[in-house]
Symmetry: C2
Subunit: 163 residues, 2 copies
């Protein structure tokens, strides 16, 4: 295995282990528990689930996997607005189903990218800028989103009751 293959495997393994840890947390929470605020006056677990769902959904066009997101209606509620400010009718069960669908579709794409192609540009950078900043590639998006998932995963984990 050359260093490039090793590195791509590391980034993908880290992504998957954070997804797995987050799903493990989700599985331990009832819909009622997920609806609680993670700390007084802070985001609810439901909001953070919607937030992660839309951010991951947006990785599909960003990584040039798909032309569009699966659930564009999530973005104004869970990304462009703070929690509890935009009325919506999404239930926790719907959000869990959307999260799973987005995760599965994204994972299938991630698994199919040849190692070399991870080092090509993502969709938010021009060819000119990418020539000067080759680290702004698709794999860097995956690494950054892994950290983002860990960040909020540590917050949602606070909702799991201590034994």
């Amino acid at each position: 295995m050359n260093h490039q293959d090793v590195f791509v495997k590391m980034a993908k393994d880290n992504w998957q282990s954070q997804i797995k840890a987050f799903n493990h947390t989700l599985d331990k929470l009832s819909d009622e528990q997920l609806a609680q605020d993670i700390a007084p006056g802070r985001n609810s677990g439901t909001y953070l689930l919607g937030h992660l769902a839309t951010v991951h959904d947006m990785m599909m066009p960003l990584l040039r996997f798909e032309a569009n997101t699966l659930y564009p209606e999530l973005t104004p509620v869970f990304l462009h607005a703070p929690d509890k400010t935009v009325p919506h009718t999404l239930t926790a069960a719907q959000l869990r189903a959307q999260w799973k669908e987005i995760s599965d579709k994204l994972q299938a794409h991630i698994d199919s990218v040849p190692a070399d192609e991870w080092f090509t540009r993502h969709n938010n950078i021009s060819e000119e800028d990418f020539a000067k900043e080759p680290h702004r590639n698709r794999l860097n998006v995956l690494i950054g989103r892994t950290n983002h998932l860990s960040y909020h995963g540590g917050q949602v984990a606070l909702l799991v009751p201590r034994k």
Copy 2:
């Protein structure tokens, strides 16, 4: 820039940006705010600072940068035991100073590792196992610890008062 240099830069940049974000959170908190629990019945910010300090300190022998940690006395209090179970006399000011010293020393080592050497084994894996699992290298430790820092960073950020 070849791909290897690009991904070593990506991993190092992600580490540094999470360190910077965590320090930015720390700077916003008084010692009294840091001493609060991040959510009712959970870890205090002070415990999480000590926890991150000892985990990062332990990266020095793990990454073969140093023979020993700087502050071995942190480990039993902030890693091997839950919060509020081991009495200690460390003040927030001392912990902040130790965190800074550990961070600075670790960063100096990180900056001095040639790209190739990130792909050598870390100290918790044997030569035999590493031959079979080359992804268990020093760079993977850095990526994993970046996620760990994000996870707890998202929790400590909950202590910053909302405007």
